[in-house]
């Protein structure tokens, strides 16, 4: 009888502090990305296109948005007798009183779930990266080399490698090789191969090392599991991934990765990647085509169904339901679902969460701001008062009530809570 041989587990629990107001009410993996989708749609679509049909999502932080987004799993075709997505929230039982104390602990607490399905390979992914990958090639490499663990890596500039898990990988073949060393966020990286947080495990070994790890006080795959496996001479391989990898850990990175969608030859081609999202989430499927007004101007931008553009839009991404009124101007910005931009408002380098209204003559950012962190981010359900000026690199928390807005101005880099 056919049974799926690969079980995928997506680590989608975390909130990332650096994304600030975008993750006040949702985990990182549920942050909107790409004009209609969510970050987790990228690994989910990769799984769909890789023919991997049994998926567990480990979710802990503010999971409602994520649960709502996953729905039945039908959006990714993960519904059927041998296909399905399970959301695995933290739980208590006779033995275990904890929240998920880390990525490795989260998987450890669900070892019986893994046993139930009895897969021959366990694929562990992080739910918060933007990339296109056929996991089957990595799984084939993993099986061919009879590895206990194969971890995927990508080349990054050496000066940024310190932020990642970094491995030295032997040149066994073009696809990868034995892992020679591994360090989590090293001060002086020995190589520029950075971990993608994509792991193939031999199930028996995974269970073994996770049990050992329980004696420890830290429970992370990168910080604890891989170094332990290296030390104890497990067969650990590095798989070299050579495609695009979009990192969205900070607002600036989120903004940059979004900008990679634009241009005549974008680094991310959503259409050819076949990204699928849940069309029922925020009623995407109920929106009419983009409506362009008589005096609209839009250039080098993306907009999904449900947008109404009457003003000027340049180098920007508009999620469903954004309304740019006549006389408004938007540059270099990402506006999530149902933002409304009133006449005379000018937005530069803004990431604005859902349901925010920019009233008449609001200014955000500046056309040629030279600040280091120049992106201003506005939390959801805000109404920026008429004529208000927000500088570059500002942060506005979600749902600021009318009386809490200061008088007229928020200076560069300021935060409004």
């Amino acid at each position: 009888m056919y049974r799926p041989s690969t079980l995928a587990m997506i680590l989608a629990g975390g909130r990332v502090d650096e994304l600030g107001v975008l993750t006040h009410y949702r985990p990182k993996s549920a942050v909107p990305f790409g004009g209609f989708a969510r970050v987790i749609d990228f690994p989910l679509s990769n799984l769909l296109h890789s023919g991997i049909e049994r998926i567990a999502i480990l979710s802990q932080y503010r999971s409602y948005s994520l649960i709502n987004h996953i729905g039945t799993g039908a959006a990714w075709d993960m519904i059927g007798r041998n296909r399905g997505i399970s959301i695995l929230p933290p739980f208590k039982d006779y033995e275990n009183p904890h929240w998920y104390r880390g990525s490795a602990d989260a998987v450890y607490q669900n070892l019986d779930y893994i046993r139930y399905y009895g897969p021959s390979v366990i694929l562990i992914l992080s739910g918060d990266h933007i990339y296109q990958m056929d996991y089957r090639e990595m799984i084939r490499y993993h099986s061919e080399h009879d590895a206990d663990l194969t971890a995927a890596f990508i080349e990054v500039p050496l000066d940024s490698a310190a932020r990642f898990g970094v491995a030295e990988i032997a040149d066994d073949c073009s696809e990868g090789g034995r892992m020679l060393s591994y360090e989590e966020k090293p001060a002086a990286p020995k190589s520029n191969w950075a971990s993608l947080t994509v792991f193939c495990f031999r199930p028996a070994v995974l269970s073994e090392v996770l049990k050992k790890n329980q004696e420890n006080t830290s429970y992370e795959f990168g910080r604890d599991i891989i170094p332990m496996m290296m030390q104890q001479n497990y067969k650990v391989h590095g798989y070299k991934f050579r495609g695009y990898w979009g990192y969205t850990r900070t607002i600036d990175e989120y903004w940059q990765t979004s900008m990679d969608l634009l241009g005549s030859a974008p680094k991310i081609d959503l259409e050819s990647w076949g990204i699928r999202t849940n069309l029922a989430h925020r009623n995407i499927a109920d929106r009419q085509p983009v409506k362009m007004g008589a005096h609209a101007s839009i250039e080098n931008s993306m907009a999904y169904n449900g947008c109404i553009v009457e003003g000027t839009v340049r180098n920007s991404i508009l999620f469903p339901g954004v309304h740019v009124m006549a006389g408004a101007e938007i540059n270099d910005s990402v506006l999530f679902f149902d933002n409304i931009v009133h006449p005379g408002a000018r937005l530069n380098r803004v990431v604005s969460d859902v349901n925010t209204v920019f009233n008449r003559d609001v200014r955000v950012g500046a056309p040629k701001c030279e600040q280091l962190h120049r992106v201003s981010v506005i939390g959801w359900n805000n109404s920026v008062p008429e004529g208000f000026r927000i500088g570059c690199g500002c942060t506005v928390a979600p749902r600021i009530s009318a009386e809490k807005w200061p008088d007229k101005i928020l200076d560069d880099g300021e935060e409004l809570k």
């Binding site: 005549s264 699928r276 499927a285 009419q288 609209a296 839009i298 931008s301």
Partner: protein, 422 residues
């Protein structure tokens, strides 16, 4: 909450709509794409859903495959559930021989078993080929309040158009006291929209009266106004029978015109996102550097490098650099190559217009199509599904390029004169 008891809906979706020419060559009229992501029948189905009605039979006859695929299990309009449902009702072999539906009343008569199997107080009978928004729940309440046997949705139409409709003369209580079907010299401007509420028992009785009474407007209604309680339910608002190329084009243009009265999203019209190319899974529209788009509707998956003005683009249309699309309706995945020009055209799915080609060339909008002078006479040209127009060719006004046309030499011609077909 819904006020009235559950009524059964029967949707007449069998019409050929032959005046839509190429657009109905491979699909029934209700399945013709409209407004970028919709099909004509979405308006009726969404009205049914938004009226809180949950049991629907769709009577099909002409080229039903596209329509059946589009309706699917009805989930898009919330017709799935234990007591909900939408059923396709094709003509069947009767006692004698193959019984094609001979008219609206005959079609309903042949599905009496469906009506009996779904007990209801009232039956709502609609046609699947109009663009409008209407609350049938309010109409049902009106019907009950009037204690009517039949209630007919009616609206005022311009005198010049009235000859296409069933017309009714009403007294001051909106009771219909006289009826004329498609009158040459009209006495009223009150036209039937082809929307009927029948008391179920009355409907069963009146259909049993005479099997030769095949049509509601021609037979059933004229008899009923003399014998029974027939009321007009006045409708005010946007309503279009998009049965001609001209009216179809105008209604598409209405969507992009300010204050035209039609707004699919506000009307809560729902397309079926799981049908066909699953248009909603396509990426957001990409407006590339140099694009210029005004007064238009652009659906997901489109990539615009050129100029689009006053046009409706379905998912996946590509308008390349230097190309100009004006006053046109382009269905899914049309490709308009560099520097091509499209004006006043309706292009069916997957049309490919070569570089520098022109569709809608010249200023003479009034020379009708030679083959179909009653279909194309206002300057609109039609390009059939999957047709390929070679680079550099010029196509005039009121022209027809047939389905799948694929002759890279264009028969040695470099232009197609106004009113000609290829």
């Amino acid at each position: 909450m819904r006020e009235s008891a559950d009524a059964l809906v029967l949707l007449l979706a069998g019409g050929i709509g032959s005046r839509l020419n190429l657009l109905v060559e491979h699909r029934a009229k209700p399945a013709v794409p409209f407004g970028g992501i919709y099909r004509i029948i979405d308006f009726s189905l969404s009205n049914v859903m938004n009226s809180g009605l949950t049991k629907v039979g769709v009577l099909t006859q002409y080229k039903p495959l596209s329509l059946m695929a589009h309706i699917g299990n009805g989930e898009a309009w919330d017709f799935t559930g234990r007591t909900r449902g939408i059923k396709i009702l094709p003509p069947r072999t009767g006692e004698k021989d193959s019984d094609w539906y001979k008219g609206t009343a005959d079609a309903i008569r042949q599905n009496i078993d469906f009506i009996l199997a779904n007990p209801s107080e009232q039956v709502v009978i609609l046609s699947g080929d109009h663009i409008y928004r209407m609350d049938f729940d309010a109409m049902l309440s009106y019907h009950q309040h009037k204690k009517a046997d039949i209630t007919i949705g009616m609206m005022v139409v311009p005198k010049r158009d009235i000859h296409q409709f069933g017309t009714g003369i009403v007294n001051d209580e909106n009771r219909i006291i006289d009826w004329e079907e498609k009158p040459a010299i009209p006495r009223t401007n009150l036209a039937s929209m082809g929307i009927y509420v029948f008391d179920t028992q009355y409907l069963l009785r009146t259909l049993a009266h005479d099997r030769l009474e095949a049509d509601f407007g021609m037979h059933i209604i004229p008899r009923a106004i003399n014998e029974d309680r027939v009321y007009a339910y006045p409708f005010y608002g946007y309503w279009r029978d998009v049965g001609t190329i001209q009216s179809y084009w105008e209604a598409n243009m209405d969507i992009i015109r300010e204050n035209s009265g039609i707004s699919p999203e506000e009307w809560e019209i729902r397309p079926n996102p799981e049908c066909g190319g699953r248009s909603m899974d396509r990426a957001p529209v990409r407006f590339l550097p140099g694009s210029k788009v005004t007064s238009s509707m652009i659906a997901s998956g489109c990539v615009i490098e050129g100029t689009v003005i006053n046009s409706v683009l379905s998912p996946g249309v590509r308008v390349k650099k230097g190309a100009v699309v004006t006053n046109s309706v382009l269905f899914d995945d049309c490709i308009i190559e560099q520097n091509a020009v499209i004006d006043l055209a309706i292009c069916d799915k997957h049309v490919h217009v070569g570089a520098g080609a022109v569709v809608g060339d010249g200023e003479n909008l009034t020379l009708p199509n030679r083959q179909f002078p009653k279909h194309l006479y206002t300057g609109i040209s039609l390009v059939g599904k999957e047709a390929r127009i070679p680079a550099g060719v010029r196509i005039g006004r009121n022209c027809i390029i047939n389905f799948g046309y694929n002759d890279d030499t264009f028969s040695g011609q470099s232009f197609l004169a106004d009113g000609e077909s290829a």
